[in-house]
């Protein structure tokens, strides 16, 4: 039981993620989590504004069911399969984050300084909105996210996905190394 309650090592987690991709392909679908954002836009009536959203969303309901499952999975994992172990971060990461004003790095999944609704201020609200906008716009522009490009695309040896993943890292490196220290 301890093996389940403790955080799982990378060499177990990676292959398990590949199983998610394999199962979806087995059932004739594709692993790509960002598609549901497009589907939700369509259901919300975005087809009135762009033909990009004009498609039969009922064909994508399975995708929304995966999303619903993911929410439930997150609930089950934290409530029944965890022992509140602190994320085993690099000590240097922890001290860097402390200098930026993040207390208790790794004690929770996300820093309360940005994500807690109790301490939500204008700055954290703007960060959440800007972050979400970049993720939503960027994934659609690039035609996929981590699951669609980094996992499915690279596993099937597709060059467009390699370019997209290089892009992911350009953006991520700029944010983590140049912009975050300016923001915090």
């Amino acid at each position: 039981m301890e093996y389940i309650l403790n955080p799982w090592p990378w060499y177990i987690s990676g292959p398990l993620i590949a199983i998610v991709m394999a199962l979806l392909l087995y059932f004739g679908k594709t692993f790509g989590m960002s598609s549901n954002l497009k589907t939700l836009c369509t259901i919300g009536g975005a087809g009135k504004f762009s033909d990009f959203f004009r498609f039969n969303w009922k064909d994508q309901v399975w995708n929304l069911v995966v999303v619903l499952g993911a929410v439930i999975g997150g609930f089950i994992a934290t409530h029944y399969l965890s022992n509140d172990a602190v994320t085993d971060l690099n000590p240097q990461t922890i001290s860097e984050l402390q200098n930026m004003g993040f207390q208790n790095a790794g004690a929770t999944l996300v820093p309360n300084e940005v994500f807690s609704l109790d301490t939500l201020n204008t700055k954290s609200l703007i960060l959440l909105i800007v972050g979400g906008l970049l993720v939503g716009f960027g994934t659609r522009y690039a035609g996929g996210c981590t699951s669609g490009h980094a996992i499915t695309g690279l596993s099937s040896l597709q060059k467009p996905s390699l370019i997209a993943v290089i892009g992911f890292f350009i953006g991520g490196l700029i944010m983590a190394n140049l912009l975050l220290p300016l923001i915090f």
């Binding site: 004739g28 679908k29 997150g74 999944l109 035609g143 467009p160 953006g171």
Partner: protein
Amino acid sequence: MKFLKFLLIGIFFGIVLVKSEAVSWYRIYEMFRFQSFHMYGIIGTAIASGILFLQISKKGYIKSIKGASIFVPKKDNGFIRYIIGGTIFGLGWALVGVCPGPMYILLGTGVYSMLIVIAAALLGTFIYGVLKDKLPH
């Protein structure tokens, strides 16, 4: 019942991403600061296992449930959309620490501010859809 299997796959995915700590904002920060192997290990072994699965299925040893070949849709050719779109996504990924899967999973773990991120991501997707024809691809 048709959707039960997708619900179970989603639940499994959510559990794996929490237990692997891939939904942790801190793990994403650590990855982009090159201070830990953890995320590289996860993504690397996922891709290696994925390549193995797809190569075996390509040889015809694994078929889909309907007996057809395992099929991965081909991405459109292009460069600009992938590099620019990818960079824009990467900026957001490192800022809020989530990609489109984990934002839902974290909602399940009780991080309710993810609703703000999800709403903004929907708006971002909508903006792309409206501007699509004016953007270089």
